[in-house]
């Protein structure tokens, strides 16, 4: 179980290999990789800058991960989030969940992403070709996605 915040790119395949090496109890691995989209409503994006709150970011991701471990039968999980200036097409976030049976891994990956998006202290700033910068607004759909976990999970321990 681990969370990491880093500037450098990550390699999803290598992360999965490191998590599963030597294990024979894992029945399923789910990964989610978030990428930088190259346009905002048809307007080409030059770069996306990720700011965060060092210290709180790691603490909050740790709290979210701990909650996922309580709710789902996970064998292991990993959250990697990049910060700094990213180009369109680059990877921003990686979530990997491992479980004996697939449903826990699928649900835990969604849970981790929904809570990461609404709780972890990251902020995105878009930069466009004319040099204009724009802080991304929080989306109601992300709050709604997080709120659906308020009820009991189908596979709570």
């Amino acid at each position: 179980m681990a969370v990491r915040v880093q500037q450098e790119p990550f390699e999803a395949a290598a992360e999965i290999q490191a998590l599963t090496r030597g294990r024979t109890d894992v029945g399923g691995v789910v990964t989610f990789t978030g990428l930088v989209r190259g346009d905002v409503a048809g307007r080409p994006l030059v770069s996306l800058t990720l700011e965060h709150y060092p210290g709180m970011t790691e603490a909050e991701l740790g709290r979210i991960e701990a909650e996922a471990r309580v709710r789902f039968e996970l064998l292991d999980c990993l959250v990697v989030h990049r910060v700094g200036s990213l180009q369109p097409g680059e990877e921003i976030v990686l979530v990997v969940t491992l479980s004996q049976h697939r449903q826990a891994a699928f649900e835990a990956a969604e849970f981790l992403m929904d809570f990461l998006k609404t709780r972890a202290p990251f902020w995105k700033k878009e930069t466009f070709a004319d040099g204009e910068g724009n802080w991304v607004d929080a989306r109601d759909s992300d709050s709604a996605a997080q709120a659906r976990w308020d009820g009991a999970s189908a596979i709570q321990k």
Binding site: Y53, I92, K117, A120, P121, K124
Partner: protein, 103 residues
């Protein structure tokens, strides 16, 4: 996060006179205030996170602009999300920032 004795559910109590806290700003709150962090000696009549935000907004036009949408600005106390009613007594670090947009 804080090791100081403070039970969740306590009614807001006045911050100890001159209690010093580090105030940190992020994203557009940071840009509008014009700095990333500062040390503040809490005024005697500022006991909660919301009261601190209202007091900061009176410190100049840049602060007024940063806290103009007071209902949008979020806060953390010693690196844990809190509501405006959270008491400041015992806190070492307060942060103000827009709703998060990671992932």
């Amino acid at each position: 996060m804080s090791s100081d004795a403070m039970t969740v559910g306590d009614a807001p109590t006045a911050a100890s006179a001159g209690q010093r806290v580090t105030v940190r700003y992020f994203a557009w709150v940071r840009e509008r205030v014009g700095r990333a962090e500062e040390q503040i000696a809490l005024p005697a009549d500022v006991a909660t996170v919301g009261e601190l935000a209202r007091w900061l907004a009176t410190r100049g036009p840049e602060y007024a602009e940063a806290f103009r949408r007071a209902d949008v600005v979020r806060a953390a106390l010693d690196q844990v999300h809190v509501k405006p009613s959270a008491p400041l007594a015992g806190a070492r670090e307060v942060a103000f920032f827009p709703p998060v947009t990671g992932g």
